[in-house]
């Protein structure tokens, strides 16, 4: 494992991610105020005691308590939706890419159609159809609408892996279809799947916030999006109640930024072609502006074609 080169960027991202996890998971146990109890008036300024550290919101509830519980809800929605979307995208992409033939045609067609229809539209339509919107139901909705780009990228990569020799060896030695998929194809994709999952989680958290801002947020619980919704509706920005709108805004940005940074640093760890190693630096010192023939021969676990196929997908796509 020594060859894995964890960059400072990775550590920075990891610390930020751990910080958000800490706020969301441990926070509620430190701030023991129920986010639904009224502890003050409309937009009380921040003051000394713990529940009032970030003041109160439009209903006189503690902003800090709402923030930690809201972060927990948002993380939960992100994880569940990310798992669902990644599972669908992985399975469809793997099967389409490995199997080929008519199955590939059907799945790819489905994926392309789903990719073209904006997922926010589907999420809105499904959200309206739900009478009772729990946060898990929202996570489910977001999960089943955000898989297409991942299915496409995974398909592209498993197509290229299908042509490799070790697959033939596995087939000749009588390995079953499922075992080839999971033992001989999947491991080559794992690094990509991990990165895509990170992007799915961040995309889902932002999608939940966008839905909440549109008025389709989870009912009965608080989330970062719900906090922003009320902050906007009650004019906290116009009246200058910074403490009401800034915490959820910063928290959402922090989550999205740290996850994206984690993804891109993982990308550099897994994919030497994107990394500008020491060799590249020496070249640039020699007066050449372009990084020279760096790492073209480096063994890449997966073709970079998948990343090239879909550069930083969810950062630009998704519902934000």
């Amino acid at each position: 494992m020594k060859s894995i080169n964890l960059t400072p960027r990775f550590w920075f991202a990891a610390v930020l991610v751990l910080l958000t996890l800490f706020i969301g998971l441990i926070g509620p146990f430190i701030v023991r105020t129920d986010p639904d109890t009224v502890i003050g008036g409309l937009y009380d300024r921040p003051s000394g005691s713990l529940p009032l550290l970030l003041g109160t919101d439009n209903e006189g509830q503690s902003v800090l308590a709402n923030l930690v519980y809201g972060t927990r809800t948002s993380l939960l929605v992100g994880l569940v939706a990310g798992l669902i979307a990644s599972a669908i995208g992985l399975v469809l992409g793997l099967i389409a890419g490995y199997q080929g033939g008519w199955l590939d045609d059907v799945i790819s067609g489905l994926t392309n159609v789903a990719l073209a229809i904006p997922s926010i539209v589907l999420v809105i339509l499904l959200g309206i159809a739900l009478n009772d919107r729990s946060s898990l139901a929202l996570a489910f909705i977001i999960g089943i609408t955000s898989w297409p780009w991942m299915a496409r990228a995974v398909r592209a990569q498993s197509t290229s892996i299908r042509a490799r020799e070790h697959i033939d060896v596995a087939r000749l030695s009588g390995a079953s279809w499922a075992s080839i998929l999971t033992r001989d194809v999947l491991p080559y994709l794992l690094s990509y799947v991990v990165m895509a999952f990170v992007l799915q989680v961040s995309g889902a958290i932002l999608a939940e916030a966008a839905l909440s801002l549109l008025g389709l947020g989870p009912s009965g619980t608080t989330s970062l999006g719900v906090m922003l919704y009320w902050a906007l509706q009650w004019g906290s920005i116009r009246t200058g109640a910074i403490w009401a709108f800034l915490p959820p805004t910063v928290m959402l940005t922090l989550i999205a930024f740290s996850l994206l940074l984690l993804q891109s640093s993982l990308d550099e760890v897994f994919n030497p072609r994107l990394r500008r190693g020491k060799l590249a630096k020496r070249k640039t010192k020699g007066g050449q502006a372009l990084p020279g023939p760096v790492a073209t021969q480096a063994p890449t676990p997966i073709g970079t074609s998948g990343i090239a196929d879909n550069p930083v997908p969810a950062s630009t796509g998704g519902t934000r």
Binding site: I128, N131, G215, T253, L260, G318
Partner: protein, 336 residues
């Protein structure tokens, strides 16, 4: 020959996707168990504001308009027929108003906001990303981290921050709406001068985030291309850096054009919420109001228009791709 076949294929894909989108747009809201009109009308009654007589009219009107006494598949064709005549239905919340008028009032604002934001953001983002990849060094590191940060800020979060800093704290730009109270939209220099001050904040909050996303994508594309065999070969032949840069740029551009198609739907979604932050009277605000009043015809019209716009944009990108990518002209058909 290759190009026409390619375009024909893309057009068929466009039509197929449109049909699926229409089906989803029609059937998803009808997933609610029971007669949709019942739940809509009961929601309206619960929300108050709509009297008993109005409710009855709405109920009958809706039943007639959408043929709810017929089976579901026939209703779908009734819906298609209405759409073919350009009729989006009648609003519930603002009862006699037709959805066409409501959408017609708000759509221009969204188009004026988003089309320039997409084009400028895409061009600037690609130039920035390519420069970061070519120049390397501190410029690359600075531009990369800045772009990564810019693209990871959700549109609405940047919007909120800009609104607070520029609109509320500094007070240099107006904080909401699209033009000053008392003016009516018209094509005059005075109105334009007024509206543009309302335009800057939503515009910049979209553009900055979009530039970031495009720059990050372009940078990794260009770095990937710089390590490709043809670059080494060209260098071995003694080509100048400028010429190699030209090749690299052209190769890195193609996926970026495809990437534009993928990111348009994200931007449109983000723009919806950004409009809300600034109470910009576009489609996003219309959608928000429709959701809060459970105004189904308006919601469906807005989702349909968004889908249509994104599909058309994707199709346009496909056409551009076909025109500039020599491989598509040469090959029998493009990548699916």
């Amino acid at each position: 020959m290759g190009l026409t076949r390619y375009l024909g294929r893309r057009f068929l894909w466009f039509l197929g996707t449109l049909v699926v989108a229409l089906l989803l747009n029609f059937f998803l809201p009808r997933l609610i168990p029971g007669n949709p009109v019942d739940s809509i009308v009961s929601n309206l009654a619960r929300g108050g504001g709509v009297g008993g007589e109005d409710l009855r009219i709405i109920y009958e009107n809706y039943n007639r308009e959408f043929g709810l006494d017929k089976p579901l598949w026939q209703q779908f064709f009734v819906y298609l027929g209405q759409l073919a005549q350009g009729n989006l239905g009648t609003s519930f919340a603002q009862y006699p108003a037709s959805v066409n008028t409501l959408v017609g009032d708000s759509l221009p604002w969204s188009i004026v906001l988003q089309v320039p934001a997409i084009l400028i953001g895409w061009i600037v983002g690609n130039i920035l990303g390519a420069m970061a990849a070519f120049r390397g060094g501190w410029f690359d590191r600075g531009a990369f981290v800045t772009s990564l940060f810019a693209t990871s800020i959700p549109y609405y979060c940047l919007a909120i921050l800009l609104l607070f800093i520029c609109g509320v704290q500094l007070g240099v730009l107006p904080i909401g709406g699209a033009y000053s109270f008392g003016l009516t939209p018209e094509f005059s220099a005075a109105f334009f001068g007024d509206a543009i001050t309302y335009f800057w904040l939503p515009f910049w909050s979209l553009v900055v985030v979009f530039i970031g996303g495009q720059a990050v994508g372009m940078r990794s594309m260009a770095i990937y291309e710089l390590g490709a065999d043809y670059v080494n070969y060209g260098r071995g032949l003694g080509l100048t850096d400028n010429r190699i840069t030209g090749y690299v740029f052209r190769n890195a551009m193609l996926p970026q054009i495809t990437g534009l198609a993928l990111s348009i739907s994200g931007l449109v979604g983000g723009a919806l919420v950004t409009e809300l932050v600034f109470s910009y009277p576009g489609v996003g605000t219309l959608l928000f109001n429709a959701i809060s009043t459970v105004d189904y015809p308006v919601i469906q019209a807005v989702t349909l228009i968004i889908t249509l716009a994104v599909l058309l944009a994707n199709f346009a990108v496909d056409i551009v791709n076909g025109l500039i990518d020599p491989r598509i002209r040469a090959a029998r058909s493009g990548e699916r």
